[in-house]
């Protein structure tokens, strides 16, 4: 039994192997420039997040700064519409999909916005009541359990302005969990953190992902090492190059790293594996500089 299987508490009996949960289908996104011309940011972007034995999973979309990662986030979360293409999300029935709509996918934004006029506890309880339709008492109990598990119990009655950056990040993630969403996108969760804090965030994400088998985390990041350490699958975002070696506009998925079949996923000592170093080097020295 793997490390992850030990902690998963969800229904392992309902296994649907490799059933697509979220599909990004041929998505293009153009932005209008001041001179009226169109600038393609995303071009024929396609990938699919599939169910892995009904377990939680962590998928990273990795790419250098300015390539369009946040645009992908906004399109997947239905905050923006693609110029063409579809984002399809699974319905309750297997293999039945529909277009994504606002509220289907949770987002933990980079600056961790919270409702500043609500206590930390109420920031968790309110979405539980309003969105997950939990009974007030149940929502409160669940929120307190989360806060206790993630060392925020003492801060339950604090105002968000009284929290540190790390505490705020945890509350923002837990707030999304309270809505019982299947997908949660984390926008640059490792940005601006020191190595120790990065390790803490990686452990936090793994820990939270394991709270329920239905959780799927999509991490948008430019941090190669962290993405490799935390993910099951990595989609490398990049641009095609012309004959002169110059990048053409419009990002798309250049490569997929399936860390499960590579035998790297779920390993606590992943960073010591030779294949880990190889992949990191490949991305860092070979692929990233060309993007």
């Amino acid at each position: 039994m793997t490390e992850r299987e030990k902690v998963v508490t969800g229904p392992l009996s309902q296994v649907n192997l490799l059933e697509p949960l979220l599909t990004v289908d041929n998505v293009c996104k153009d932005f209008s420039l001041n001179d009226g011309k169109k600038f393609p940011v995303l071009k024929n972007l396609s990938f699919s997040i599939k169910n892995i034995q009904n377990k939680p999973q962590i998928v990273s979309i990795l790419g250098p700064s300015g390539i369009g990662k946040t645009t992908i986030l906004r399109i997947i979360a239905a905050l923006e519409r693609p110029t063409s293409g579809h984002i399809l999300i699974t319905e309750d029935e297997p293999n039945k999909m529909r277009d994504v709509k606002l509220g289907d996918v949770g987002v933990v934004f980079q600056k961790y916005p919270l409702f500043d006029d609500l206590s930390v506890l109420d920031n968790l309880v309110q979405p539980g009541i309003r969105i997950a339709k939990l009974d007030a008492k149940v929502a409160r109990e669940q929120a307190l359990q989360y806060l206790d598990k993630f060392e925020l119990f003492k801060q339950s009655l604090y105002w968000p302005v009284q929290l540190s950056g790390g505490q705020r990040q945890r509350v923002a993630i837990l707030q999304q969990l309270m809505t019982n969403k299947h997908f949660i996108i984390l926008d640059e969760p490792f940005s601006g953190l020191d190595p120790v804090s990065i390790t803490n965030v990686i452990n936090l994400i793994k820990n939270i992902a394991n709270q329920h088998t239905l959780n799927t985390f999509i991490i948008i990041t430019h941090d190669i090492t962290s993405a490799l350490t935390v993910s099951d699958t990595i989609y490398l975002l990049g641009r095609e190059v012309d004959e002169k070696g110059e990048a053409l506009p419009g990002a798309r998925i250049m490569k997929e790293y399936d860390l499960i079949s590579e035998g790297l996923a779920y390993l606590p000592d992943i960073e010591e594996k030779a294949r880990f170093a190889e992949i990191r080097k490949e991305i860092k020295l070979d692929i990233f500089p060309r993007l």
Binding site: G103, P113, D117, Q126, R130, I131, P160
Partner: protein, 297 residues
């Protein structure tokens, strides 16, 4: 630590007085209170000095010389503190001062309540695109001279209390809508998006992102507008001079050159403004404690 090592403290030492002159200088509560006292004393000192100067110049110079003297013209309007105190006592004892103050205060509070409610509705509705042009139109009206509205009010209401309330409410609403809409416009887009990705519907976004979190700032705006109201109120009250009010009294005393009474009334307005400011500040701290913590950083 090696005891042979000589340590020289490079910590900058500044006196509390010097700190008071530095940008963002850190002064204790004791120093801060004393600084307020110093300013009050300075104000009183300057007042007494100008009165003494006026008297001395009046005694030593001829009328023609006084007319051309800029210093005399500068200090001439200031009555002495004792003259102001006497005027205050006379107005209280003989001229129903309290009744005039009550009338103006009532007008100020009622105008403030009406304008706050109207402005809150107009500015909150600005987040709904169809109402945005109406909001912009109301904001533009603050440039229109007051006289433009008086005829409308005179034809709509009887001259007197209803007209005064309508004029004050309208005047304050134009400014309140402008400042309240600015507060709403400053809500970061990320806050709207957070509510949307959580799955909140339009009304939930409206209440949780637009209405509830901006209430503390709205109190600030109302407090600021209460002050604007006091500026308007004195001129509004002069439209019906046979009624009670500080404005009518100010006009009457000013036209008859009773400057001690004028300054006494101005002091009363200052005192009421101080009370109103303290009340709004207390309300904000009491109802929205997080906003005070956020402001302190």
């Amino acid at each position: 630590m090696d005891s042979n090592i000589e340590i020289t403290s490079t910590k900058e030492k500044t006196s509390p007085l010097l700190e008071a002159f530095r940008v963002y200088g850190e002064v204790s509560t004791f120093v801060r209170s004393n600084l307020i006292a110093i300013w009050v004393l300075l104000f009183l000192g300057l007042w007494l000095l100008s009165v003494a100067l006026r008297k001395s110049m009046a005694e030593t110079m001829t009328s023609t010389e006084l007319l051309d003297n800029w210093l005399y013209n500068l200090v001439r309007p200031f009555p002495s503190p004792s003259e102001v105190t006497t005027a205050l006592y006379n107005m209280w004892a003989k001229h129903q001062l309290l009744s005039h103050v009550w009338s103006t205060l009532k007008l100020n509070v009622i105008g403030l309540i009406y304008s706050s409610i109207i402005s809150l509705v107009i500015s909150y509705l600005s987040v709904i695109p169809i109402f945005k042009p109406f909001n912009s139109f109301v904001k533009l009206l603050r440039y229109i001279p007051f006289i433009g509205f008086t005829l409308i009010f005179f034809s709509l209401f009887t001259i007197g209390w209803p007209t005064k309330v309508a004029m004050l409410t309208t005047g304050m609403t134009f400014f309140l809508v402008t400042s309240m809409t600015d507060v709403i416009n400053s809500i970061p887009r990320m806050k709207y998006e957070l509510a949307k990705v959580l799955g909140y519907n339009d009304w939930q976004v409206f209440y949780n992102v637009v209405v509830r979190p901006t209430l503390p700032q709205m109190i600030d705006m109302v407090a600021q507008n209460a002050a604007i109201g006091w500026i308007m109120i004195t001129s509004i009250e002069t439209y019906s001079r046979n009624e009670k009010g500080i404005g009518t009294q100010l006009y009457a005393y000013y036209s008859t050159n009773n400057l001690p009474e004028v300054y006494a009334l101005l002091l009363i307005i200052g005192f009421i403004a101080l009370l109103e400011d303290s009340l709004f500040s207390f309300l904000k701290r009491f109802l929205f404690p997080y906003s005070v913590i956020a402001e302190r950083g």
